[in-house]
Amino acid sequence: MAEIGTGLVAIGAAMAIVGGAIATGWAQATIGAAAMGVIAERPEESSKLLVYLALPETIVIFGFVIAILLALNTGGA
């Protein structure tokens, strides 16, 4: 029974990462497309747009933190 629990926690940790990664990718795709449009019109704004492009990465970082916490609480890391 404990092994099943550990497995479920591992699945939960994986889901936290996967969900965060998909959400980040989705957000970056949208921002990236919009940013390319802006750069075509105003190339001088590209440096600021790079920062906006990096913003959604926080989502996957949260997923990473959750995954590590789950793994730590089950002795997996």
């Binding site: 440096s47 920062v51 926080t58 949260f62 933190v65 590590i68």
Partner: protein, 640 residues
């Protein structure tokens, strides 16, 4: 020191007859950024009277310059002492416009002719196998079609044409073994074109041909040769003209460009019939220098005075030279306004630390230093070089953190030495470079995570403190709110780690929870006083900011996994070492391992740069920085 250079707005008043001399002096001195004069009781000034002739000659000289060839050893940006009058007189002596126009037109004509002949030659080559004199095929009632037909379709086409009266088809060798070159002649009224198209006949429209295709190819080749010879003669004439005039042309261009800037700069002045007024910004420390210089050059005829007001000054970052690479990072995002904090010196401390924590490998620090050095040596000043300088600086903390994490190309120091055949045992070196401070990023993830978030809290607190300093002059309430946010972060630091890692709420240490609670309550009051109830909703935001620093651990761990688990364990220990007896395989795998480490370093450099910059520019800047400053751009002869 932590602020941009102090600026002073000034007003200059003088006689209009002194305008050209004044504008020349200001241009040479390069101290003043001229601004449009607003709100004065006078009309707009027109460009200097020489503007029209300067503008006309500049357009003409640029046109000539574009046609001439750059001469070896001729510098485009050399300084010229030539006075304007002399430059205009020299312009009058240059009378090559008409000849250059003729040469250019002839060159274009010849190039078009060569293209058209080459196209014709290419088409004729397809029919080269036909030994038919096309000139003899011309008749009023007959039309002939030349082209290519596939060998396998030839007989079918022949059969189809046989059904049409008085049709004749001649074939010859095609360009490939699968084709025939053909010419089909038929009475115009029969209209065989449709039959040909239906059988995949590829028409070749080579224009009017007299003689056989081979004869025509020879004629085209001869004509191309003749035209190319003329083209070479034109090139030589260009070369002779360029040698004689290019140096003079760029010198005149330089002088006229300077005078064009001077002529138009006065459009920002205001003027009456006799006098003019100009406004501008200069470094406060240069005020007396300009004052004295104008007094020396114009006596008492030019009057300079300070303007007091709340206009937004331009920004000039003025940090000591060692910090200038970080000005690039500040400018890359946004310049601070002239009266806010310049974060360059703070970034010089925080950026390398965050970057170093992410790379965190002595070997990778060395590689990134070498790569950055190569980029600096090979590139001109610009964005890439700016980043390379940051990489070079940040490679030092990467090595220091590499020692703290005991990571040497993904190995521990002891393992690396042993793999290289050096037995260090429990020596002093191992104590210093290894086990003494060893924090394994791959195995102590929980500790690493806590450290990175702690670094985040400290970094954010520094940003909030700078925000407090920035706001103090504007609004004491908002400045205190910044301190309130520091308190909320501190209380979070007391509470959150226990909540994250304790098995149950009952195990929480009551003293720390109580202290955290009190700090939190007082801090929240300060925040709500400034931002209202909306301040409460910002708490998850600042918690998110702190957690965002976990990316330092995430990027670091990703790098270690690739270096240690994939490159070293799988390739080096798994493939190279078992094949030590076979030197070829051993060295080949070692070379692959080294290349992969370089590639992994490159990834770590890029990712750490982006993430390090992001933590500074988003999380940190957000706590104090407004930005949107306009760069100080003095009216100067120096190329920008």
């Amino acid at each position: 020191m932590f602020r941009p250079a102090k600026m002073q707005k000034i007003r200059v008043i003088g006689m209009r007859r002194d305008e050209p001399a004044l504008i020349s002096s200001l241009h040479t001195l390069g101290l003043l950024e001229i601004r449009k004069v607003e709100g004065e009781e006078a009309g707009r000034e027109n460009p200097l009277h020489v503007y029209q002739i300067v503008s006309e000659q500049l357009t003409r000289i640029r046109g000539i310059k574009n046609l001439l060839e750059k001469q070896p050893g001729e510098k485009e940006n050399h300084k010229s002492e030539m006075p304007l009058e002399q430059a205009i007189a020299e312009c009058g002596k240059i009378k090559i416009d008409a000849r250059l126009r003729e040469l250019e037109a002839e060159r274009e004509r010849i190039e078009e002719r060569i293209d058209s002949l080459a196209e014709k030659k290419e088409k004729l080559a397809k029919l080269a196998g036909l030994d038919v004199d096309f000139g003899k095929l011309e008749a009023e009632t007959i039309e002939c079609h030349a082209g290519i037909v596939k060998r396998k379709k030839y007989e079918i086409l022949k059969g189809a044409l046989a059904k049409t009266k008085n049709t004749c088809m001649m074939k010859g060798r095609g360009q490939t073994a699968a084709d025939f070159a053909c010419v089909v002649c038929a009475p115009k009224k029969e209209n065989v074109k449709g039959t040909l198209e239906a059988h995949g006949f590829e028409f070749v429209q080579a224009g009017k041909i007299a003689g056989t295709p081979l004869e025509n190819i020879a004629i085209a080749e001869e004509e191309i040769h003749k035209q190319k010879k003329r083209l070479a003669e034109i090139g030589k004439e260009y070369e002779v003209i360029s040698k004689e005039y290019y140096g003079k042309i760029i010198e005149i261009d330089k002088v006229l460009k300077i005078w064009e800037a001077r002529c138009t700069a006065v459009s920002d002045f205001r003027a009456t019939e006799e006098t003019f007024i100009l406004h501008g910004w200069l470094l406060e420390k240069n005020y007396w220098k300009l004052h004295e210089e104008l007094k020396r050059r114009f006596g008492g005829r030019i009057f300079v005075s300070r303007i007091k007001g709340k206009d937004e000054p331009p920004t000039l970052l003025a940090n000591p030279k060692p910090f200038s690479p970080f000005e690039f990072l500040v400018e890359f995002f946004s310049l601070p306004r002239a009266r806010e904090i310049d974060p360059s010196m703070i970034l010089a401390l925080t950026f390398p630390i965050l970057y170093g924590m992410m790379v965190g490998d002595v070997g990778y620090g060395i590689i990134s230093l070498l790569l950055a050095g190569m980029i600096i040596a090979k590139t001109k000043p610009g964005m890439l070089r700016g980043f390379a300088v940051l990489w070079a600086i940040a490679s030092i903390p990467s090595m220091i953190f590499g020692i703290l994490f005991d990571e040497w190309f993904g190995f521990t120091f002891k393992t690396l030495m042993e793999e290289m055949g050096v037995h260090v045992g429990g020596s002093f070196l191992v104590v210093v470079f290894g086990s003494a401070f060893h924090l394994s990023r791959l195995h102590d993830i929980g500790t690493l995570l806590l450290i990175t978030i702690l670094v985040g809290v400290l970094h954010l607190s520094l940003g909030l403190f700078l925000g407090f300093v920035n706001e103090w002059g504007h609004s004491k309430t908002h400045a205190m709110a910044k301190l309130g946010w520091i308190g909320i972060l501190a209380s979070g630091l007391l509470l959150v780690p226990h909540l994250m890692f304790s098995a149950s709420l009952l195990a929480l240490p009551i003293d720390e929870v109580l202290a955290g609670g009190i700090i939190f309550a007082v801090s929240l009051l300060l925040v709500v006083r400034a931002d209202g109830i909306m301040g409460v909703f910002e708490i998850p935001g600042i918690a998110g900011n702190a957690l965002s620093y976990a990316r330092i651990a995430a990027v670091g761990i990703a790098g270690v996994v690739v270096a240690e688990a994939i490159i070293n364990k799988l390739l080096f220990e798994g493939v190279a070492l078992p094949n030590r007896a076979n030197p070829f395989v051993f060295f080949l795998v070692c070379a692959v391992v080294l290349l992969l480490h370089i590639a992994n370093t490159f990834l770590a450099m890029f990712e750490s740069l982006v993430q390090g910059a992001r933590l500074n520019l988003v999380e940190f800047y957000g706590k104090f920085f407004h930005g949107g400053g306009k760069k100080f751009s003095p009216f100067s002869m120096e190329e920008k």
